[in-house]
């Protein structure tokens, strides 16, 4: 039960308090792309959730091994990219062997949900947030669910954000940035705010 509580706490923390999009601004380009279609929202969120969760398990052991090293920050990206790359290839081989239809459907854009700032950023944040293996898994799941929340919110506002009443120069990316900014402001309430004395 302790393990489950740890994982849920870590996941909730990354969904609401340290949301990769609203609090960290990671993977905005993937978010803008995935929020165009309902199937993209689910597909990209699942892809990100899977990769961050599985990669977090591997990077937990790497972090434990190298955390004391002065130059870990320098070669951290190389190790993390290698981990993500290996998981990506193994997963694609699995799909190609057992689910060829799904493989041919996803092979052209699956890399977008794997090699992006959300995945790599989430892995870099794990050691900063700290905790044990189960917390890492919780952070991984939370990153995917947090991305799904952000993506669903943007998707649901899609029609309103592209209507004719919006000034032409604001249409598209600018209004989406302002919209994400306002949602980010709302979610920052979870962290709390105190006025300076």
């Amino acid at each position: 039960l302790d393990i489950l509580v740890k994982m849920i706490t870590a996941a909730l923390f990354t969904i609401f308090i340290q949301n990769t999009v609203y609090e960290r601004a990671l993977g905005v380009n993937v978010l803008l792309y995935s929020a165009r279609k309902k199937t993209h929202v689910l597909g990209y969120s699942f892809g990100i959730c899977y990769i961050t969760t599985v990669s977090s398990i591997a990077t937990f052991f790497l972090d434990k091994l190298f955390v004391e090293n002065e130059y870990y920050e320098m070669f951290m990206p190389l190790l993390y990219v290698a981990v993500v790359g290996v998981i990506y290839v193994i997963t694609l081989i699995f799909f190609w062997r057992f689910f060829p239809r799904v493989f041919y459907k996803i092979k052209n854009y699956v890399h977008l949900s794997v090699f992006n700032a959300t995945v790599l950023g989430a892995l870099f944040l794990n050691p900063q947030l700290g905790g044990d293996l189960f917390s890492y898994i919780g952070y991984g799941i939370g990153t995917g669910l947090g991305f799904m929340l952000a993506s669903a919110l943007l998707f649901s506002a899609g029609k309103s954000l592209s209507c004719d009443s919006i000034p032409p120069s604001f249409r598209g990316m600018p209004v989406m940035m302002v919209y994400i900014g306002i949602l980010s402001l709302a979610l920052s309430a979870f962290i709390g705010y105190s006025t300076a004395a």
Binding site: Y22, E23, R24, A25, L26, G27, V28, N29, L32, E73, M74, F75, M76, P77, L78, Y80, V81, A82, V84, G85, Y88, V89, L92, K107, H111, L112, F115, N116, A117, V119, L120, G121, F124, L125, Q128, P167, P168, S169, F170, R171, G172, M173, P174, V175, M176, M177, V178, I180, G181, I182, S184, L185, S188
Partner: protein, 217 residues
């Protein structure tokens, strides 16, 4: 064909800087600008990191054979970027100091999977000849650097009332400018302003309405 070539040549000079600016127009690389470019010095460090990692990665990866399947090629791009990141990290530490590099947090290492490397290479840069590619990459990087420095400068003035650490006479201080939501909103406003200017220039030359130009885009 000549006309087509001429159009491509014309756009080569304006795409990276303005028409397809990777921050303001296509939002391909936004995280460092929104979350980490809160002062001019931080922006400068980000610009150096982004420019060196992106330029040399794109240059080196040009020589990766296209016979290798895309799935593996994309991993090789990211691995190359991660290798190039190592000397760049040391250089940044030497140039800006360890504290500033630390203050950039995750926004420095995530540059190894930035969309200029992971997406633009396949759909644009590697379809050009070597010389044109280098010019285009340089201009796209310059476009990012300009926006990053602009955002860093504006946010430092708004949030701290200074510019590059020097006092800047500004009537009020707006601490929210250095938060993530402040970054999103400011980027949206700057992007809208640039689009308005772009549409205005286009409108003058083609006599089309702004809505027609948006539909064309």
């Amino acid at each position: 064909l000549k006309r087509k070539k001429l159009i491509v040549k014309d756009h080569t000079l304006t795409d990276g800087l303005f028409r397809q600016n990777i921050v303001l127009m296509s939002a391909l690389v936004t995280a460092p600008v929104i979350a980490a470019a809160t002062t001019l010095l931080k922006s400068a460090a980000l610009c150096v990191g982004f420019s060196l990692v992106s330029f040399f990665t794109i240059l080196v990866c040009r020589f990766i054979p296209h016979k290798i399947v895309y799935t593996l090629r994309i991993i090789l791009y990211a691995l190359t970027a991660a290798v190039i990141y190592m000397p760049v990290w040391l250089l940044l530490r030497f140039m800006f100091g360890i504290e500033l590099v630390h203050s950039l947090g995750v926004y420095l290492p995530i540059l190894v999977t930035n969309s200029l490397i992971m997406a633009k290479t396949e759909v644009r840069f590697y379809l050009r000849d070597f010389k044109t590619m280098n010019i285009e990459v340089f201009l796209f990087i310059l476009g990012f650097d300009a926006v990053c420095l602009l955002m860093g400068g504006i946010r430092e003035i708004l949030a701290h009332g200074t510019l590059a650490g020097q006092p800047f006479s500004f009537p009020f201080v707006l601490p929210a400018a250095e938060t993530t939501f402040g970054g999103f909103i400011l980027l949206g406003l700057i992007s809208a302003f640039c689009r308005a200017v772009y549409f205005q220039i286009k409108n003058r030359s083609s006599k089309k309405t702004m809505t027609e130009l948006i539909k064309e885009r």
